[in-house]
């Protein structure tokens, strides 16, 4: 292989034909690999790039009978309408605040939990604690929403009973806009914090035991070793996950929000993606909804690129 490469690069300039035939030979030799990739290629072409072609209706007035191409252009009308609407800033605020709230609580918890798991002796307790905390990851979002609703129900919910038993007045979690974000974020932590530890535990298992031994000999306490050996080990993983999270700041997981949303908590629960769903598929304002969706995707892509650039300037753990 190495040798063949040498010949190829050596003969590129004088005999380009030879290179061509070599490339062709490589393609022919591995023709079946193109067959292998064909299903995925067509899948992404049709179901990911196809809708990208459909984005043009954001700049048109889509009329189903005329099709995507036949509908008249309207330029940025839909965007202007969205930016000028009275709910624009509410949607942006809700989306951003839920994302940032989720990041602030949901990002550190798995890290702390992984560090704690890592300090446990291997054995029954550790295994059980891990198995149990991973499990909620597999609960479906519908069941999750059902659990939230039954636990927080103002008349029969166990959380309500508990708060009243302690002598306080239980707030109406499900319908009070003040509580929506907290309910959303903390139920998310309950469901995914355990599962989120796996990736950090994998990183921690790669720590050189020699580092710990040397630190012990130098008289470092457990806490100091966690602080100065384990946490620095996690920084690259943390950075990558943080960048990925930032990239979806405006893409807050709307499946759960949609289920927990009701007319009473709407003022704090309506986010861009649920609004896109409602205006697009419920009210059939196809073009308007596409425009908002496009605005959302573009912001997400920009945030991802900017954050990645910032990280790349400061350390080597960027995505690309």
């Amino acid at each position: 292989m190495q040798e063949a490469k040498g010949i190829v690069t050596g003969s590129v300039l004088p005999v380009p034909d030879k290179l061509k035939s070599r490339v062709w030979k490589r393609i022919v030799q591995n023709w079946e690999l193109y067959l292998f990739i064909a299903p995925a290629f067509f899948y992404f072409l049709i179901f990911s790039y196809g809708p990208m072609y459909g984005i043009q209706i954001a700049f048109k007035n889509f009329i189903p009978t005329k099709g995507i191409l036949g509908s008249p252009w309207v330029g940025f009308d839909h965007f202007v309408r969205f930016f000028d609407s009275y709910y624009f800033w509410d949607l942006i605020w809700n989306t951003l605040s839920i994302s940032l709230y989720e990041l602030a609580i949901g990002f550190p918890v798995p890290i702390i939990l992984a560090l704690a798991f890592n300090e446990l002796k291997a054995g029954f307790f550790k295994r059980t604690a891990q198995t149990v905390t991973y499990a909620p990851h597999f609960i479906s979002v519908v069941v999750m929403a059902g659990m939230i609703i039954t636990f927080l129900s103002p008349s029969t919910g166990i959380v309500t009973h508990f708060i009243e038993w302690m002598g306080f007045d239980a707030p109406d979690f499900l319908t009070d806009p003040k509580w929506f974000k907290t309910m959303y974020v903390f139920s998310g932590v309950w469901q995914s914090a355990g599962w989120g530890t796996i990736i950090y535990l994998a990183a921690l298992s790669g720590v050189d035991p020699g580092l710990h031994e040397a630190a012990i000999i130098d008289g470092a306490s457990r806490f100091q070793r966690v602080r100065h050996i384990n946490i620095p080990t996690l920084v690259p993983t943390m950075t990558i996950l943080l960048i990925l999270n930032m990239g979806s700041l405006l893409g807050v997981g709307f499946e759960k929000i949609l289920l927990l949303q009701n007319s009473l908590n709407m003022e704090s629960s309506d986010v861009i993606s649920t609004f896109v769903y409602r205006s697009g598929l419920v009210d059939a304002q196809y073009s308007f909804s596409t425009a908002i969706g496009l605005f959302n995707s573009v912001i997400n892509a920009i945030v991802l690129i900017v954050v990645n650039q910032i990280v790349r300037r400061t350390n080597e753990n960027s995505l690309w």
Binding site: P51, V132, P136, S140, V142, A145, G146, G194
Partner: protein
């Protein structure tokens, strides 16, 4: 982290706090699950009033009886199994060969394909254009609208590719090719049998995803007989509760009749949650190491 050195006083204190912390996390996660199970077999009056808070009280199996009598739950169950099996088969058929091709260094164009797939991770057409496409293809209100638009995830392709790259020795492929083995034979007879761990991981990831998904069914299906379990659950768990919240004033007899109905509805709710989640939670402890493996392979930067 076992060490031969004796723990000092402050380390012991640290460890005690650590155990307490993990134990609290354990309780916080386990309690709601235990409560749900207990509530599903307890007298709904005692559950509603908060008297039942940990172990079952006034045991009754009426909730399960009603769940098993409910035909829409059975239809939903059947549909979910069908969608999950067909969907997961398609997922594997699309993901594994593509991932293998992408893992081959001698595959000309792998960077092009990889780049093309990766773009979709960061940018997409959005909800409405995707919906219009599925509609255009005539898949609305068929099973295909559920299984085809989610035929592959780029993340899982990357995980599988990393596995093929790191766990299948390159010499194997070279030796097979020298013996005149074609790529197809190589993949079917040698690579796949060696890749059982990743096949299991992928089948589990995709399978759980298919089992739990509700949104594509919500937007693409419009006949109740085609609804998967999750949509039936949404009806029972979310929509009913929301409408119950909005009940205004009423006279005493209707109120007590409704109350009775509400109690049974609550009982059904707990039972249905258990019935819908049990298959996954029951297999999960046995397959845990595969799931964990999947995440770990994915965390290797490839």
């Amino acid at each position: 982290m076992t060490s031969a050195v004796k723990e000092s006083g402050r380390d012991k204190l640290f460890l005690i706090f650590n155990y307490i912390y993990v134990f609290l996390a354990f309780i916080i996660v386990a309690y709601p699950v235990i409560y749900m199970i207990s509530a599903s077999i307890s007298d709904p009056k005692l559950v509603g009033s908060g008297e039942m808070w940990l172990w079952p009280k006034g045991i009754t199996f009426e909730g399960y009886q009603r769940v098993f009598q409910n035909s829409s739950i059975w239809t939903g169950y059947g549909n979910t199994i069908l969608y999950t099996v067909v969907g997961t088969a398609i997922n594997l058929f699309v993901t594994l060969p593509a991932a293998y091709a992408l893992s081959r260094k001698d595959f000309l164009g792998r960077n092009f394909f990889m780049g093309m797939f990766l773009v979709t991770m960061f940018f997409g057409g959005g909800l409405v254009p995707s919906y219009l496409l599925v509609k255009e293809l005539g898949m609305v209100n068929t099973m295909w609208a559920i299984v085809i638009p989610s035929a592959a995830s780029i993340w899982n392709i990357i995980v599988s590719r990393t596995f093929f790259q790191s766990s299948i020795p390159k010499e194997l492929q070279e030796a097979a090719q020298i013996d005149g083995c074609t790529n197809l034979r190589l993949f079917m007879k040698i690579i796949l049998p060696l890749s059982m761990p990743i096949i299991a991981v992928m089948a589990l990831f995709y399978g759980v995803g298919n089992w739990n998904s509700y949104f594509s069914a919500l937007i693409y299906l419009n006949e109740a007989e085609k609804y998967p379990l999750q949509l039936v659950l949404r009806q029972i768990l979310v929509l009913q509760e929301m409408s119950a919240q909005g009940g205004g004033s009423m006279d005493a007899s209707t109120a007590s009749a409704l109350n009775n109905k509400a109690e049974i509805a609550a009982l059904v709710k707990y039972a249905v949650i258990i019935v819908a989640t049990a298959p996954i939670i029951a297999i999960y402890p046995f397959l845990q190491r595969y799931f964990v493996q999947g995440v770990m392979i994915g965390s290797v930067k490839g």
